[in-house]
């Protein structure tokens, strides 16, 4: 029982990352009709916003310590951060410790700006082109973006820890009447899950309860009619592209402490996220969220030793097996709409 609960928590946590990325993907597809293979790269850039903030807060000046030697036997250069020298060691180290949450403040405008530049500068020229062309150009863009990141940050993963107070684990076992340490789960992963729920809720609320959201939803249902009403739907869709980029970026920022960011992390999530979107139904926002959590949970359960003993290798293929089954039984995905990607 404790193993099942642990994998359920794992699944919710994985699912929240899948859902956040897939939400942005399907938002772009639903509004602009673009299959954006560069979306994983936006997630990766978000994670590197956290890395950048960490580096910014740890900008240092060097002093020479004549009493110590470096690896070549020269007097040691000792680095001290500006933040600690300006705010004192206690406040300074606390600010550095909170680099990841602080990076959210930077990531939102940066990601919206990147989204705008991507959409206006490149992707808008491919709106009326076949989906295959869109996939090719956005996949190429993803490779360019990850090579740029690699050029500046290298190929090695960069540790980006969570604030100290979130580094431990929470003992769910005691809370649920199990033995101590039977079900423990990292605090930051719980934070990630809660954060995802808030972002997903905020996106839905924005689309559901604001005039802007109402127009966007109308545009998603019938772009031409909304245009005939004199509403500049293209402008709103461009803004939605920026919002989708920001959602992917925020997912990346908060993911940085879970696995050290590297330039390739976007590609690792991209294929899975596309499967999530297809399973959920192309262009369906609730479908993306539902499929994200469902596939995350199934993937976690498939990794259990008892399951792997019965079906060796199932952990590597479960998502694709489920995708095939769902697409065979429900060709439009779990919550897909008629007419989307069927022309």
């Amino acid at each position: 029982m404790d193993a099942i609960l642990l994998q359920l928590l794992n699944g919710l946590d994985k699912g929240s990352a899948y859902a956040l990325i897939a939400l942005g993907l399907t938002l772009i597809f639903g509004t602009l009709g673009v299959v954006n293979f560069a979306h994983g790269a936006l997630f990766m850039i978000g994670a590197f916003c956290a890395v950048t903030m960490q580096r910014f807060l740890t900008l240092s000046y060097e002093t020479i310590d004549e009493t110590k030697k470096d690896f070549l036997g020269n007097p040691l250069k000792v680095s001290s951060t500006y933040v600690e020298s300006w705010f004192g060691p206690n406040i300074g180290s606390t600010i550095i410790d909170w680099a990841v949450p602080i990076a959210i403040v930077m990531a939102v405008p940066v990601m919206i700006a990147i989204g705008f530049v991507m959409e206006r500068g490149l992707i808008k020229h491919f709106y009326k082109r076949p989906h295959a062309d869109q996939i090719l150009v956005t996949f190429g863009l993803a490779i360019v973006l990850q090579e740029i990141i690699k050029y500046f940050y290298g190929a090695n993963p960069i540790p980006t820890p969570a604030p100290d107070m979130f580094r431990g684990s929470f003992d769910f076992g005691v809370l649920l009447g199990f033995d101590p340490n039977a079900i423990i789960y990292p605090y930051w992963r719980l934070v990630y899950f809660a954060f995802s729920a808030i972002i997903i809720g905020a996106v839905f609320a924005f689309l559901q309860f604001t005039t802007f959201g109402m127009v966007v939803r109308a545009g998603m249902a019938d772009r031409e009619t909304v245009g005939l009403l004199g509403i500049n739907i293209d402008k709103r869709f461009t803004i939605m592209f920026g919002i989708a980029a920001a959602v992917a970026g925020l997912a990346g920022v908060m993911y940085a402490p879970i696995n050290s960011p590297n330039y390739h992390m976007g590609m690792d999530f991209l294929v899975l996220s596309f499967v999530v979107v297809v399973v959920g139904g192309m262009g369906s926002l609730p479908g993306a969220v539902l499929a994200g959590f469902m596939l995350g949970i199934l993937e976690s359960f498939a990794s259990m030793n008892e399951v792997k003993d019965l079906l060796p290798g199932i952990d590597q293929i479960i998502i694709y097996v489920v995708a095939i089954i769902i697409l065979l039984t429900r060709p439009r995905g779990l919550m897909g709409r008629k007419g989307v990607m069927e022309e």
Binding site: G11, F71, P186, S260, D268, S300
Partner: protein, 454 residues
């Protein structure tokens, strides 16, 4: 004026012969002229350095390339000479190799076997490389070693740790300086017993490819021989990034040691996940839960950050070796001085093995008095040397594996700077990690005959 008689059959025959000639790899046509592939004819000789320049091991590849550049500089008489000054063999004089200036070409393995073979093939056929070296993966090493055997050039392996490279996949034209999974296990087991006792239950997470399998097999055998039990061995996909669903079952498995048979990004992520799940703070069977990472690298330690503290593993070499363990490891400081002065930071173990391999190849050519790969192979096989940073070393003739001391290391608790993330726990003498050439873990292959490409 003569009249040409063009017949359909004649054109086809001529075309077939010309086509076959064009299709013939240049290394075969070159060999036909001089007895072996890419025999140097001018006043230069070309070496091919095949390293990951893109992909997840690109940083390690960049460090290998720095070491190769430095080795070429030293071979040609530039710089301070580095380990040429400490190398026990004095056949090299700083005037290139046998008087020919050394030049090099590079290839990008991308850490993919097919890409690595393609780049090595291109360096051999188009650039005339007479030796191929480098790499950061056992899959790549085995693939390129096979290609070099077919092409008739020497392969001086870079970072490859699978038993198979000098085990079932060994080749007469291939030579490995780096240690292997068996040696890691043989060095680690006694230290683990001292640190954690002989009554432990281990849970293995293993990267699902050749290196992971041989690493797991070696560690399991060595730890079980000293009394540990093995609770489970779970294979994890090489492409996995989040290991939480593999870590979770460890919590209540009854295991009190987690062995992470992972390397590179896999290791950074699995270790990070294990620490996040509180395994380092856990008590099982009345003992502190421990994590072991059999194969360490400086870049991995950097990637794992604070999570690496106190984690035990093994290394082929460390830049602090001579300072901490004495003159036996002469050459280390000379190399660190050369490398550090040129690049501003200490070399990695991947860099050291690549630098040593280049010098060893050049020295073997000089001692053999020939670039013929079979003569070079003969000079390397059974060669005993010293002064390249690892202490007295033997290039065993039976399998072309180097036998030397192995380092057991641990993540530093309080690193003084970014270059001191790893501390040396113990150096295990070569005798303790030496095995029989017919050992079952290395069985199934044969060196075969040396191929000069003629």
């Amino acid at each position: 004026m003569s009249k040409m008689n063009l017949t359909r059959r004649g054109v086809l025959q001529t075309g077939a012969v010309a086509g076959a000639g064009l299709a013939l790899p240049t290394y075969l046509s070159a060999a036909a002229h001089s007895g072996f592939t890419n025999a140097p004819t001018g006043d230069t000789v070309t070496l091919g350095f095949n390293v990951p320049q893109t992909g997840p091991y690109a940083d390690e590849g960049a460090d290998e390339l720095r070491a190769f550049e430095l080795a070429v500089e030293h071979l040609n008489g530039g710089g301070d000479g580095g380990m040429l000054n400490t190398f026990s063999s004095k056949a090299l004089e700083g005037n290139g190799i046998m008087g020919k200036k050394v030049q090099y070409v590079t290839g990008d393995t991308q850490t993919k076997s097919d890409a690595a073979r393609a780049s090595a093939k291109s360096m051999i056929e188009k650039d005339g490389a007479i030796m191929i070296s480098g790499g950061s993966s056992s899959g790549v090493a085995v693939a390129v070693q096979g290609l070099c055997q077919e092409a008739g050039v020497i392969f001086m392996a870079g970072l490859t740790h699978s038993n198979d490279t000098t085990g079932k996949d060994k080749k007469a034209n291939g030579f490995r300086h780096f240690f292997n999974a068996y040696m890691s296990a043989a060095a680690l087991a006694p230290v683990l017993k001292n640190l954690y006792g002989d009554d432990r239950a281990a849970y293995h997470l293993t990267a699902d490819y050749t290196w992971g399998w041989t690493q797991q097999e070696s560690i399991q055998a060595a730890t079980e021989a000293m009394g540990w039990s093995t609770i489970n061995d779970v294979r994890t996909p090489l492409a996995a990034t989040d290991f939480s669903s593999y870590i979770a079952p460890v919590l209540n498995s009854g295991a009190d040691v987690l062995v992470l048979n992972h390397y590179g990004g896999n290791m950074v992520n699995s270790l990070t996940n294990a620490v996040q799940f509180g395994l380092r703070d856990k008590q099982v069977n009345g003992k502190n839960f421990e994590i072991v990472v059999p194969l360490y690298s400086e870049l991995m330690a950097k990637g794992a950050g604070q999570n690496i503290k106190g984690i035990v593993g093994s290394q082929n070499w460390d830049w602090k070796l001579e300072n901490q363990m004495g003159d036996r490891y002469a050459g280390t400081n000379a190399f660190v001085q050369s490398f550090g002065t040129k690049y501003g930071f200490p070399p990695s173990q991947a860099a050291q093995t690549c630098y040593a391999q280049t010098l060893l190849y050049a020295d073997a050519v000089a001692r053999a008095g020939s670039f013929n790969p079979c003569a070079v192979g003969e000079a390397l096989a059974g060669f005993e040397f010293d002064g390249l940073g690892n202490g007295p070393t033997l290039y065993r003739a039976d399998d072309h594996q180097c036998f030397k001391d192995v380092l057991v290391v641990r993540g530093a608790e309080d690193p003084s700077d970014e270059f001191n993330l790893v501390e040396i726990v113990e150096v295990t003498p070569a005798e303790q990690v030496t095995y029989d050439p017919e050992h079952p873990m290395f069985a199934g292959g044969a060196l075969g005959e040396c191929n000069p490409g003629a």
